[in-house]
Each structure stands twice: as structure tokens, then as C-alpha cells.
Symmetry: C2
Subunit: 309 residues, 2 copies
């Protein structure tokens, strides 16, 4: 029997503009990217989310064909799927949100299927902390690991509820600006230390093209991002990272610090695929051979010999 | 006989303001940091530079006590030493130059002592490309490696002469913004590729707190910066890096790509010492034991296990 990964998060349609092109409607959402990324591993992955009846069958098929269980995805009759429109600036490191239609997300009440209430690993994608709390309340056994993603919007407007969620999770995965906003500390070491005090034993701070840091006790692991000649569309990079990270941990059922380092490399590899094409295209279509080559590239990128006493 | 490292660069007095303190006059300059960093290795290091007669004997002593040969340092009678005053902003990643007095640097005519004209490795610290050219013209044998540091000011105002220098060196070490400015390419891979075409076989792109990238042929090595709880004063970090890098290469007399990776880690360790205190204090005073611990920290920070096919 395969280990279970429960993913709670958004499913969406995105409209994206980058310096390289524009697309008016493309499959998106945190749970979508997390699920598609995690499903590259050997596991039993279920998504809890909500869509409208405009959500296309081909997209449900894409997810199910990847082996993802959608029994926790509510399809609201007469409802419209969550929609996000954004534009990336020339450096691709910053973006402007041009339009957000919450639609069915506004009244989302997550119902976790019985089969996933005892999942080994739970991944809470970026979402209202209220919904995240509701999801955690339905678990019937303590997971090996609960991972939280969140963003500045929830820190600014729902801090109290967010703090409750943070106190209940084992690992938080946020970007450097968010870590600084959450703690008021500029130094990432101090920020991570403050977040430890809020609950999570593990803190991942994502730095985009500069890679990611994993903090645990007084230890730090630093993973590079793969230098890419062309970043085509950064949408979903963080979620693909989270999916690869939790997917590998679920498959291996090993949440030691050492194994988390490997998981971060898998997550980074997944993110590197995602940003090379629009939307989920490259996340879905890369071959196992491409994955092997990419892992080799990460190893080559970081390996050095040094005389230690 | 020890291998020779020739360092051409500035010696200066700095006035520095950081969020943590202020100092009105402190020993600075590229050649100072490079020399003090390189002299931690087993080598014969000579500096070619210029100072005024205000340059204090205790500072000459400090350099000579570190084993640095100062026979190439001209002391101009009645002249004032190059002076720089700068203020770091709260994030310590950006700074404003408040005052620059070129003083004796304005008419600096570098004279390389005969003993260093056949140095194995030559390090050109950030300086007028005209002076750098004059220095290169005096070498009597082709060095194993010529390393160049430069900055945006020379790119903007002395591009033609700078291009001549670039065409004559083996390795250039600049920061990410400078690499982008030099090439007009945002992607660092593309920027490095363009710089290769200008002459240097090796390109190091420094990213401050995000570490450094080394490009050679189609290979890339990514070194992290050590996450530090407190960066006290970033002045001289890049020069300490360059000194550790060239110092290690000079000691080992091995300029293979593999050995350059190790050299980058030594350089990064040196930079991590420098930024922890004002000026050169921690660069000079760290113990061999502290160095060993820091190298271990870099190894721990970057090592991961992954199944490669």
C-alpha cells in the first residue's frame, strides 16, 4: 500500500503575461501544481479543493490520469472557478496581480474524504488560514508531517488565524520577503529562529532564482536553484517545489533532516521544469530521463572537494 | 620556493557607516583586503599600489607582518591616501558613496618590482583599466592565471580600455548587476556566455548573500554564502573573496575547474569572516581553527545525498 499525501489548496484558471508571451486561460492553482508535481513519485495523492462547473473535463482528466484522487474536489453547480490574472515584469522576479476573482473559493468548505484523514503527509497549499484550520480539524490521526505554504496577504489581514495554523504545523515553506514580513527580522537566520518559536520545527525559506534554505534546530541546508538560460513563466514554481518536496518525503516515508535535503533537491528540480514553459506543460511532460539528468546537474552544480581536518 | 601572487590594487582609508555603528577612518582598499586574505595561504604575495605620506606605519607593519611584500607600494611625499566614505542601508545589500577623494590614486603609475614580473597568478583589483593595462604590460612571462575585478563606474566611462583589459585576462570576477550591465543580458548564463566571448575563459558572478557562480565552458558551479546571523560591515567582502580565491590557487598551483571550486569556497569563507566585524579586523584575527570550522560549515551547508542513475 502506498503512503498517502493529502493536498489542500486551490484549483484555478490563470491568465498570464510574461515578456515572452501571453495566455488568456490556462490551468493553474496551488493544489494543481502540487498534485501534478507530487504524482511523479510513488504515492497515493488526494486533492481537496473546489472548482466551478466551468472547470473543463480535460483538466480533471489530466489530474486523474496522473494518478491523483479527486474525490475531495467539490464541483459547485453554477459556480465559476477561481481566476487569477497576473503580469510578470522584465526581470521575472516580480509580478503584478491584475485581477483576482475568488468565485467558488469564497465559500469553500473543505471536506476531507475518509480515505485521506489518516494521510502520512499533509500539504496545505497557499489558501485562507480559516480553510486550512478546518482541514486540519478533520484529520483522525496525527500525520508524520504537516507542511504549510502561505503568503503576505494572509499575514496582513488574517494574522491571528494564521498564527493558529502555524502553531499546528511541522514545517512552513515561504519566501524570503514573507519570512521577513512574518517576523520583522531582516536576517533570515533570525527570522527562521522566530518562526521555530511559533511552532514549526522546520522552516524552508525560498529565494527564487537564488535557491532555498532549510532550517532545523541549529542546522542549515542551502539548495541552489538551477541556473536556467531562460525562465519562461515562473507561475507555479513554489507549488511545484512543494509538490516535489512532499512527494519525495511521502514516497520514502522518511522525514529526517538528511532526507529532507534530498527532498528539497527533488522539489527544486520540479520547479526548474515548471518555469521552462507556460503553466503545467513541462511539469507534466518531462521524462524520467530528463529528471535523472536534472538531478545530476544539481549534484554537479554543488559538489566540491575540500580538505577538512 | 613559494609560488608568487601579484596583487595590483588600491590601498585606502575608509569611513564607514552601517546600521550597527560608524567609524571615521579605517584601513581599506582592494589590495589591502586581497593581500591580507591571500596571505593566510602559503605563498609569496606582493602588492603594487600607492599611498600618501599620511599612511600610517602601523598599517604598513600590519601588512608586512602578514608576510606581504610592499616593495611595489609607492609612498608619495606630500600626497594623501585614497579616501572613501560610504553608508550602508538597513538591508546591508545596498550602499551609498558619500565621498571619494582619489588623492594619490589620480596619478598612480604602477611599477611592478622585477621579482613579481613572473608571478604565477596576477590579481587585478578594482581600479582604473588604464592602470590595469599598464601593469599587465610589465609582466615578463605569461602567468598561469590573470584575474580581474572591476565595477560599473569603469563600464560606464572607460568601456574601451576596460574591454582591452578584459580581452587579456583569464578570469573575471564581478557581481550580478555588473555582469548584466556589461552585457545587457538579464540571464546570468547568457551574460557569462557573452563575457566568455570577450576573452575570459572563466567567469565568476558574485551574488552577495546569495553566494557566487563560476562559469567555465558549459559547466557551472554554485557556491553558497554562509548564512550569518549578523552582517556587521560588508566592506571588503568581494576583495576578501578574491584574495582567498587567488591565494588558494597560488598555494596549490592548480587552476583546474575542480580546484577552482575549492578556491571559491576558501574565498567565500574569507568573505564571511570579513563581514562579521568592521574593516579588516576579523580577516586578520581569525584562527586556523575558526577557518577549519567554517570550511566544515560550508560542506555541511551544501552536502546532500541523492540516487543518481
Amino acid at each position: 500500500m502506498k503512503n498517502k499525501l493529502l493536498v489542500v489548496g486551490t484549483m484555478a484558471y490563470d491568465a498570464i503575461e510574461t515578456p515572452f508571451g501571453k495566455i488568456d486561460k490556462i490551468l493553474g492553482g496551488a493544489a494543481t501544481y502540487i498534485g501534478l508535481s507530487a504524482s511523479r513519485f510513488s504515492l497515493d495523492c488526494g486533492i481537496v479543493s473546489v472548482v466551478g462547473d466551468d472547470f473543463e473535463k480535460k483538466h480533471l482528466d489530466l489530474l486523474e490520469d496522473s494518478g491523483i484522487d479527486l474525490s475531495g474536489v467539490e464541483q459547485v453547480k453554477g459556480g465559476q472557478t477561481f481566476f487569477w490574472r497576473g503580469k510578470y515584469h522584465n526581470d521575472l522576479n516580480t509580478r503584478t496581480t491584475l485581477e483576482t476573482q475568488l468565485n467558488v473559493l469564497e465559500n469553500f468548505n473543505p471536506i476531507i474524504p475518509d480515505h485521506y484523514k489518516d494521510a502520512e503527509i499533509v500539504m496545505l497549499g497557499n489558501l485562507s488560514p480559516d480553510v486550512q484550520l478546518k482541514a486540519l480539524g478533520q484529520l483522525t490521526s496525527k500525520p508524520k508531517l504537516i507542511v504549510l505554504d502561505t503568503m503576505n496577504f494572509w499575514m496582513e489581514h488574517f494574522r491571528e488565524t494564521l498564527d493558529q495554523v502555524i502553531s499546528k504545523v511541522d514545517l512552513i515553506s515561504i519566501n524570503d520577503e514573507e519570512a521577513r514580513q512574518l517576523t520583522g527580522e531582516y536576517s533570515l537566520i533570525r527570522a527562521a529562529s522566530q518562526i521555530h518559536d511559533m511552532g514549526p520545527k522546520y522552516v524552508i525559506i525560498k529565494k527564487g532564482e537564488h535557491g532555498a534554505l532549510l532550517f532545523y534546530n541549529n542546522e542549515i541546508f542551502c539548495a541552489p536553484a538551477l541556473p536556467l538560460e531562460e525562465v519562461f513563466d515562473p507561475t507555479g514554481a513554489g507549488d511545484s517545489f512543494a509538490g516535489g518536496f512532499t512527494g519525495y518525503l511521502t514516497q520514502t516515508a522518511d522525514i529526517s533532516f538528511e532526507n529532507m535535503k534530498s527532498a528539497i533537491i527533488y522539489g527544486s528540480a520540479m520547479a526548474s521544469f515548471t518555469v521552462e514553459k507556460f503553466g503545467t506543460e513541462n511539469l507534466v511532460n518531462h521524462s524520467p530521463k530528463m529528471m535523472a539528468e536534472r538531478l545530476r546537474a544539481f549534484k554537479d552544480l554543488t559538489t566540491f572537494e575540500i580538505q577538512l581536518e
